[in-house]
């Protein structure tokens, strides 16, 4: 009986460490057997390009969820920041300035959400739902429902450019993952994000700047959404006010599948990276297999539910 208890424990540890990785490999294997297009370089690059947009958003989302919050506004923030910046660049603003403007807009919208959460004690779900509606509405009225199109090449470079034959977005997302990892694991601020999420009251009593911590994660989430938007808009050469609808869903899915807990304070960047890849491959696979789009949401919903059950069982 003693040995049984030991094996049970190490099974859990193994599952916790490698369960996600193995599921990811299994999914890839399945898809490469089911369709011969999956393993083509062209397709794999496409998966990575898709993953890069969701990956950048997911890093911000992860930090928000680590503080027991959620950010539903990422898609709408992306759209509003991009239509304004896109319009600016079309009216002759230098691309670099427009890019900075875009990131600043995203960050400011995050600042508003964060302020609602920290100062007015509005639950994150409601605060960011409000921000989502407002940003989407502003984007629609700013453009009068028309997409903004036709950007100079340097503005599009982030999304459409290549470096050494590899799409620029892949470099960007790798950089963001790396910075996210360093931030979370190696800086005081990152450790305080974990501490706050683990026990907000103890964080307050320990004299951590709890408000700044929470504000920071929402600002970061907004700015990263805008950055993801620059990639999306660059690739499409168009910024529609309705763009990125539902992106919050994929980002939350990736973070949750990656093992970050809604109870706050628990999660790893490595898990989020795998979660992003898994969701990207899942999306891609369902497209390759011609799964109808309504049904794709059902599958993703089921995957999230399964992941939550899985983590509940092994924690």
């Amino acid at each position: 009986m003693a040995s049984f208890a030991v094996t049970e424990r190490s099974w859990k540890a193994l599952l916790q460490q490698y369960g996600l990785f193995v599921s990811f490999l299994a999914l890839c294997l399945l898809l490469s057997l089911a369709t011969d297009r999956f393993l083509r370089t062209e397709n794999l690059l496409n998966v990575l390009r898709q993953a890069s947009i969701n990956g950048i958003i997911a890093v911000g989302m992860m930090l928000v969820i680590l503080t027991r919050g959620i950010d539903l506004s990422v898609g709408a923030v992306l759209a509003l920041a991009c239509v304004i910046a896109g319009d600016a660049v079309r009216q002759g603003w230098p691309s670099l300035i427009a890019i900075v403007l875009c990131l600043a807009l995203g960050g400011s919208m995050g600042l508003v959400s964060g302020t609602l959460v920290t100062r007015l004690n509005i639950p994150p779900f409601i605060a960011t739902l409000g921000m989502m509606t407002i940003a989407r509405g502003l984007a629609l009225s700013y453009t009068q429902g028309q997409p903004v199109t036709g950007f100079p090449a340097d503005f599009r470079w982030l999304g459409a450019g290549t470096l050494l034959g590899i799409p620029v977005p892949i470099f960007i997302v790798s950089g963001i993952f790396l910075l996210g990892y360093v931030l979370l694991e190696l800086t005081p601020l990152g450790r305080h994000v974990f501490a706050y999420g683990d026990n907000p009251s103890a964080a307050h009593y320990s004299g951590l700047s709890t408000r700044q911590i929470v504000l920071f994660v929402y600002v970061l989430s907004g700015a990263l959404s805008a950055l993801a938007g620059l990639i999306l808009v660059g690739r499409l050469n168009s910024a529609a006010p309705t763009t990125a609808e539902g992106y919050e869903f994929d980002a939350i899915a990736a973070v949750v599948v990656g093992g970050t807990s809604f109870d706050g304070g628990q999660g790893t960047m490595w898990g989020t990276i795998l979660g992003v890849l898994l969701i990207a491959v899942l999306n891609n696979g369902m497209n390759l297999l011609n799964v109808p789009s309504e049904f794709q949401t059902v599958v993703k919903g089921a995957v999230i539910a399964l992941a939550l059950l899985f983590y509940k069982a092994i924690r």
Binding site: T187, F194, A202, G265
Partner: protein, 504 residues
Amino acid sequence: MNTTPLLHMSAISKSFPGVKALDRVDFTVQPGEIMALLGENGAGKSTLMRILDGVFTPDSGQIFWRGQPVQIRSPQDAKNLGISMIHQELALVPYLDVAKNIYLGREPAGLLPGTIDWTTLYEQAHQQLARLDLDVDPRTPVRDLPLAQQQMVEVAKALSLSAQLIVMDEPTSSLSNAEVAVLFRTMRALKEQGVSIVFISHRLNEIFAIADRVTVLRDGSLVGSEPLQGMTADALIRMMVGRELGETNQRPAGEDVQSQRQPILEVRNLSRAGILHDINFTLYEGEILGVAGLVGAGRTELAETIFSVHPPTQGDILLRGQKLRLRRPADAIRAGIALVTEDRKGQGLFLRMEVGANISVRILHQLARFGLIRWRDSQHLAQEYVDKLGVRTPSVRQKVRNLSGGNQQKVVIAKWLTLKPQVLILDEPTRGIDVGAKGEIHRLMRELASQGVGILMISSELPEVLGVSDRVLVMRGGRVVAEMNPRLATQDDIMRAATGAKTS
């Protein structure tokens, strides 16, 4: 005695990664008996009781209930047998009110199926509270109660189960004498009715006062079970730690500390509406100032006001003669004030984080170079404090929630010591800490004081207040009602001041 024991746990073993928590432990409780369970922090007391409650499954061993072998797989199984448990770390739902907590999952049924008879619920809750002399509105959310009252609500909950065996894991660690007296009265009444009780406490005087027999654990092994009749405290300690303990009185022989030293913290006319009234005192450099009083006397509130968790409505706090303007704990910490809170689970610890991360969380900035934390240094620092305070853990990478209660308390203290504060406020610093480690912590306090730190120590344990402090304040009803010299005062003097009884 020839009766079948109510409970017999036989050769129970349990291991966690890196820890052998229990090694073939036998434990027996007779009907109508109060059995004390004693041992150092991490000896395995709570683990043994959690096995009895079905929270943990033992690696090996057998449990007999009234002579019959039983399998206890969940707390529900334990409840069905007639076992009721008061856990060391309170397990109340903070947002629910007192009555709902007491009857959680056992709400009296209403007229329609699936409904709850709220009137009966609140009436019964009221009766349970009255039985414990607890002056609390059953509609108060539990999180609004001070820790001691939450503890009493746990007791009420356990009593309401009409169990055959009640396990109390350190129910008195946050109670003062008055509440302990009420609890003991209740325990004796239960014993009269034939109920058995397992009582865990690190306060030996309590064990002598209430228990019939004692079972001692050391490092996960059974040392022995003995009747308390004729047993001495020294003999108990020897069983517990396997050696004699040195002198525990830590006060230096010197005379009045105040006369020679500088004031470090001055509190002037401090009030908080309805809670604190016109509080005045001075804490001197190198002084340990004890604060005694009953639960609800405003001691924790005083500490939290100085630490600026709550703003005072009136009055000033001066640090080395400078008026402080503080708005939140972060400001107080910057000024050099630290507060070891009473409620370690709620306000002290990051339970799911590692021991090392908990200890170093306050000073990560000092451990960083170019903005990046030097992990090696932070682990070394944590290890240093783990050694200094004798935290029992397989490594600094262990999650804090896997430590025993007393060892968690040491982690909280360590976190605050890393800050090297000028004023250290300790609210029940040795809550749940074993006799030996308590002496260590007192020695540490004395050492800090000798380096000039001013220490304000709130404690419900009168021997601790009298044994460690240079001077004692007694609070009652949000006021400081007396100041005493612990060399001359007795426990009775303090109790009289704390309760407001006329001096005889």
